[in-house]
């Protein structure tokens, strides 16, 4: 039964995992996302749905547990925050290389290094360009509310299985820690072993049931031509994602002269800026990428044909702005406004940045 609750983003993510019928969650505590595993443990997931929740000895172990479970056809997930996600880069590259469906959450905090536990959006490059080695991408969803922390679990798994790809939710400390109303979906039953055989038996390693040919999960391609072919297959997949599963939200862009591009917490703040700007007679709109990879190039290039400028607003020194620039490709000016270190930009300072952009 769907339910309206007041929850932290991290908790909503946890509850959504349970209701999605996830088979295994493997994680290691780190602020500001430890509530995910704490919530799952408190909910006795194994008793509720049979879902396994395991505290791993490290982030590296956790991502490799996800690899094992995902490779055997089980729905599996992990979560962490910036330094922990850095440790998972090799594992993520393996997951992408072996084409394994799974879900990861990064509740981003300020970096580099140990940094701060305050919210940040400075892991955008890592998530979208590939912090691990090789030419791979994850499908990256950026929730901007507690509701989306829950909803994107289902959406994420749908994509993960559609493309056989790891999916990341790129969130931040604000969204993870805040409570909001959230409508939690009905419980989906976990797939039975039989259903897994039927759905994933052609690739998943679950034993040679019925004496079928063996399945192999690997990301090793010793021969260059095979390796290149595999890479081309991955690239084709990314292209298809861009065509079919790119997501964004446009807010008051219809008549806008200027566009803020912002995701997650920054997008919420920028919405407030629209209001302030319009009060001052500035026709401002917001384009919120919901998927960071694939990046919503189509709507942005369309807007680039009719607006006067873009401002990328992000809690970082300038990462998202590069994708905006790549898309706009010089047609109009693209500026950046960012705060970092856990400082959340205020709608007023964003407005000032817009005014500066207009003046220039």
């Amino acid at each position: 039964m769907a339910e309206l609750k007041l929850m932290k983003g991290n908790e909503a993510f946890g509850e959504a995992l349970i209701r999605e019928g996830v088979d295994g969650y493997f994680g290691y505590p780190i602020t500001p996302q430890s509530e995910v595993i704490e919530y799952l443990m408190t909910e006795l997931t194994h008793e509720r749905t049979g879902m396994v929740t395991l505290q791993a000895e490290s982030e590296i172990a956790a991502i490799n547990m996800v690899y094992g479970a995902a490779a055997s056809g089980k729905k599996s997930a992990t979560s962490s925050s910036s330094p922990g996600i850095s440790l998972k880069q090799e594992g993520i590259s393996y997951l992408a290389g072996a084409e394994l469906p799974c879900l990861m959450l990064n509740v981003v905090r300020g970096g580099p290094g140990l940094g701060t536990i305050q919210p940040s959006q400075a892991d955008y490059f890592q998530a979208t360009k590939g912090g691990g080695h090789g030419d791979y991408h994850m499908y990256v969803l950026a929730p901007a509310s507690v509701q989306e922390m829950a909803d994107f679990v289902e959406d994420g798994f749908d994509i993960a299985y559609k493309y056989k790809t790891p999916v990341m939710l790129l969130s931040d400390g604000v969204i993870g820690q805040m409570m909001e109303k959230v409508m939690i979906k009905e419980q989906k039953p976990r797939l039975t072993d039989q259903e897994i055989h039927e759905k994933h038996g052609d690739w998943a390693t679950i034993g040679r049931i019925g004496g079928r040919e063996r399945n192999i999960i690997t990301s090793l391609y010793l021969k260059s031509d095979q390796m290149e072919e595999h890479n081309q297959k991955l690239q084709a997949k990314y292209k298809k994602m861009e065509e079919d599963d790119c997501r964004w939200e446009e807010i008051q862009t219809e008549d806008a002269d200027y566009i803020i591009v912002a995701y997650g917490s920054s997008a919420r703040i920028s919405q407030k800026t629209i209001q302030l700007a319009r009060e001052k007679g500035i026709k401002l709109g917001v384009l919120r990428p919901i998927t960071l990879f694939p990046f919503p190039k189509k709507p942005i290039s369309e807007l680039a044909n009719r607006v006067k400028g873009f401002l990328a607003v992000e809690m970082s020194a300038g990462q998202l702005v590069e994708d905006v620039r790549l898309t706009v490709n010089g047609k109009v000016k693209v500026e950046h406004f960012g705060r970092n270190g856990g400082i959340i930009p205020s709608p007023v300072e964003v407005l000032e940045a817009i005014e500066k952009l207009i003046k220039e």
């Binding site: 309206l4 007041l6 602020t31 500001p32 701060t116 536990i117 400390g173 604000v174 820690q177 805040m178 409570m179 909001e180 109303k181 917490s265 919420r268 703040i269 920028s270 919405q271 407030k272 959340i344 205020s346 709608p347």
Partner: protein, 180 residues
């Protein structure tokens, strides 16, 4: 209507759960709410505070620098948040443990002897409900009945027997708040 509120004090004073009850109360009367804690440094001790927003409209930022109301429960929080009350706003505080009392003239200041009243009632755990009562008296934006509903929602079933006591504490707060 939009109420932007900060509740600030020590860890252990029930600051976060008071905010949660308020937020739930907002939901009970069909409003948008957000609850954003300061999740302090990854270490122990120190202050705790939570920003609660209750609004008829979609909430953009759950993190604020200025507030309609500040509920302040220790000196450190007074030092930090007195200045962040919007002109015309409300500051409600418990004088216990406060050495430098608020001095602003452009806001309304109320006090509530939460700690002493809780001690009087023989239960320090209801301290935050007394403060909540005082707030409801000063800013009756949320209906008491919705607060009770919110309380039910935010308390696990096994604690529901404590609701009458909590209600009593809320009334205590309502009755004892002083306008300075």
């Amino acid at each position: 209507m939009t109420e932007e509120l900060i509740i600030a004090g020590f860890g252990g004073q029930g600051v976060l759960s008071m905010g949660k009850i308020l937020a739930y109360s907002g939901i009970m009367q069909d409003q948008e709410v957000s609850w954003m804690p300061s999740y302090g440094p990854e270490m122990r001790g120190g202050t705790a505070n939570v920003t609660v927003i209750i609004s008829d409209d979609r909430i953009s930022s759950p993190v604020l620098t200025e507030f309609d109301t500040a509920i302040i429960l220790n000196q450190q929080s007074m030092d930090k948040f007195e200045e962040s009350v919007k002109p015309g706003g409300v500051l409600l505080y418990d004088p216990n443990g406060i050495s430098k009392h608020p001095t602003r003239k452009d806001i309304t200041i109320h006090s509530i002897e939460g700690a002493s009243l809780a001690a009087e009632m023989g239960n320090t755990k209801i301290f935050n409900m007394i403060i909540l009562g005082a707030y409801l008296e000063v800013k009756p934006l949320v209906k008491l009945e919705n607060v009770i509903l919110g309380l039910k929602k935010s308390l696990p079933e096994r604690y529901h027997k404590l609701i009458p006591l909590n209600e009593e504490a809320i009334h205590k707060g309502m009755d004892n708040v002083k306008n300075l």
